[in-house]
Symmetry: C2
Subunit: 423 residues, 2 copies
């Protein structure tokens, strides 16, 4: 499913000039099938185990059709009241399904990506710090998503100034080390904790972190971009334990919850600072509803001004698939991953590079990086499989992220056969 | 077409809890019609003359369905080669249709909104300034879009520090005043010029601005968000005259070019600075194609990491509507607006608050703000009409932005009748 095109291959098949006259739909669909699709990596292929999954589904696609057809723009409540209210509402539904703390109710917003969500949280924290006349210090473990580094750069802070909190042997932020760093810290802090790191799926200990930040001037942002939606299953509610102390929380329905990108859910406990950081009101955007203070204008909760009606797809997904359907989806992947992890663990020449959390399995070869590299190449040489890699404590690690809507036991078994043979 | 819901009305009709079991599609579609659509302002209504148009079309909607169905993610070339290459290609097509300078070829990227595009340009300019060890000064007229103020705030610069270049009586940036400001300025400058301001459609004189910035350390960003796509018509190519000196340029197919939001086209003459400002590469995103330097990784040209396959809809629109179809679309609106403007100009109690540029008509009542406010209220009391307002030199102004796909002479005539009667 990995496209084998070389750079430039796709463009070489496209006419240099745009058409003057309309072309028939059949010509466009034919080119879509002939030129575009073969040039795409097939994220929906059941043997796609790379990165994290990019969820989509019939309900999500249908809603995108409706969103484009309605053609509205929800920058202000007044420019599309139902778009704003549905967004607040479905994020309350999602908060309910995930068991999020009450402080997040009515305070959710859909961002395009978790990167933007983290940037918004950082800007809100900076605004709060600035209101007190203080500079903000950013803290996170080395395992926090690179979106933090990017957000820091965008915000004009020094990337190098991020204070890196040490991690334990399982790549989890060390709360004792955090407490020491905070004790030595005078001013306000923006702290990112991760519930399910991208590299290995590690969970920073949120309860202990909450204890460490108590009574301190810390904006705690929790990044559960991938893992957070697993909490739709009551038995996996632990992924969000400790969120009661979080000032903001992000998780992406567009990863593991069958909703097409872009749908990243951000909640903020107190939107005041977000709004102060992001509100700019020229005359042509003034209106009675905004002036009344009785509505949310989501343009003030995001980087851009214009906005798509993204809540519609989450609403379609939640209603047409239902909570039980979403739980079954997540449980199936967790079971497949745990079965694969057990096989890896039993194999004499394969190791789990990290505990297999949820549906992410990290594998190394006992003989080291060169052998692991060969595993990686053997798997990716199979046109039915795709995995990616990372490094853990300097060692090369093969990542198997399970989460495709059509991924079944058969596909994971095939991966295992290729892996075991290559090992 | 303006929804008459009060704050909370839509939410009150939605169940407090998400469903456990899947619901039938008919129930969701029924609620869409019954609860959601009546709560939306109908941007596609032919009598919608508010803000700027939010383009959409059958081809655009169909492509969104395909994008959601394909379910890919184009953060890197390697994760969806055809998505990246089609994006570069259709932006070259669009550059060709708009007659953009050769320096922008192969250097386009789709952003969600012009706000993000302007932020990216600002960050690139700051990176270039920082490479020379200098602080960046931001300059623009008071008529530049508020997205600049927001970008400046996001980037951590002082909003109040924007140097405002005076405008002439027609709200156009004064190039002589700019030259004076630049002469008094020692360090690097990020200058925003606008081709078609949001408030009144004023065009900053790009040729004269180009002359003023020549040989100076200025990053010239041109914002043609609304008006820029009008250059698909050869006789309207003047909207982009002087772009040869621009370092970056943004125009939104999702406004006046029948492509659903989000599709904002940004070109940068030298992507080096953009990439330096926005590239952060953790191990799990490394890949051979990126390392080769032979491909564009669009995650390095935008704020977020993940990205939707938005080029598909622009491709569908350009092919299924064709350049001639797009030209007819723009010409029709310009003709309707110029006809309306002539009637306003002839009316004894109505004035044009600014020259009617392209398809934007700005109207005041001769008797002042209170009378203009009554005009505004009379028009918006009609369920078939929606207009917005602005202020020009302190005076209240009624804005009529024409651009709906279904807007015809009949709808503009109806607006005129209501306006003339109220006047």
């Amino acid at each position: 499913m990995r496209s084998d095109v070389a750079p430039g291959d796709v463009r070489a098949q496209l006419p240099a000039q745009p058409p003057e006259e309309p072309e028939p739909l059949s010509a466009v669909l034919s080119d879509l099938d002939r030129v575009i699709v073969p040039g795409l990596t097939q994220w929906q292929h059941p043997g796609f185990f790379g990165y994290f999954p990019a969820g989509t589904s019939g309900p999500s696609a249908l809603a995108e059709l409706a969103t484009a057809g309605l053609g509205g723009q929800g920058m202000l409540w007044s420019t599309s009241p139902a778009a704003t209210e549905l967004e607040t509402h479905v994020l309350d539904w999602l908060a309910e399904l995930l068991g999020l703390p009450a402080r997040f109710r009515g305070r959710g917003v859909i961002q395009d990506t978790a990167s933007s969500a983290t940037l918004c949280a950082l800007l809100a924290a900076r605004e709060r710090a600035a209101a007190g006349g203080r500079e903000l210090t950013v803290m996170a473990s080395s395992e926090a998503h690179s979106a933090l580094d990017k957000a820091v750069a965008v915000a004009g802070l020094e990337r190098e100034a991020i204070v890196r909190v040490p991690v334990d042997a399982r790549q989890r932020l060390d709360p004792a080390a955090l407490a020491d760093l905070l004790a030595a810290q005078d001013g306000p802090v923006f702290l990112v904790a991760t519930a399910g790191t991208t590299s290995t799926g590690a969970f920073d200990p949120l309860d202990a972190i909450a204890a460490a930040v108590a009574d301190r001037d810390v904006w705690l942002h929790v990044d559960g971009a991938w893992a957070g939606t697993a909490a739709v299953c009551p038995e996996l509610r632990w992924v969000g334990e400790g969120l009661g102390a979080a000032d903001s929380y992000v998780t992406n329905p567009h990863k593991w919850l069958l909703t097409a990108i872009d749908c990243s859910a951000l909640w903020v406990a107190d939107p005041t600072w977000l709004e102060r950081a992001l509100t700019v009101t020229p005359e042509y955007l003034r209106n009675a509803a905004s002036d009344s203070g009785a509505v949310i204008d989501y343009r003030d909760w995001q980087i851009g001004l214009g906005r798509r009606f993204r809540a519609l797809k989450l609403w379609f997904v939640l209603r047409l698939i239902g909570a039980e359907g979403l739980r079954a989806h997540v449980r199936r992947h967790v079971a497949l991953a745990q079965r694969l992890a057990a096989r890896v663990d039993d194999h004499p020449r394969l190791h789990l590079a990290a505990p297999a959390e949820l549906a992410l399995v990290c594998v190394t070869h006992a003989e080291g990086d060169a052998a692991t590299q060969r595993l990686l190449e053997a798997i990716n040489a199979d046109p039915q499989l795709l995995v990616t890699h990372t490094r853990v404590d300097g060692r090369l690690v093969l990542r198997v992220a399970i989460g495709g809507a059509r991924t079944t036991e058969r596909h994971v078994d095939h991966l295992w056969q290729v892996l075991a043979r290559a090992a």
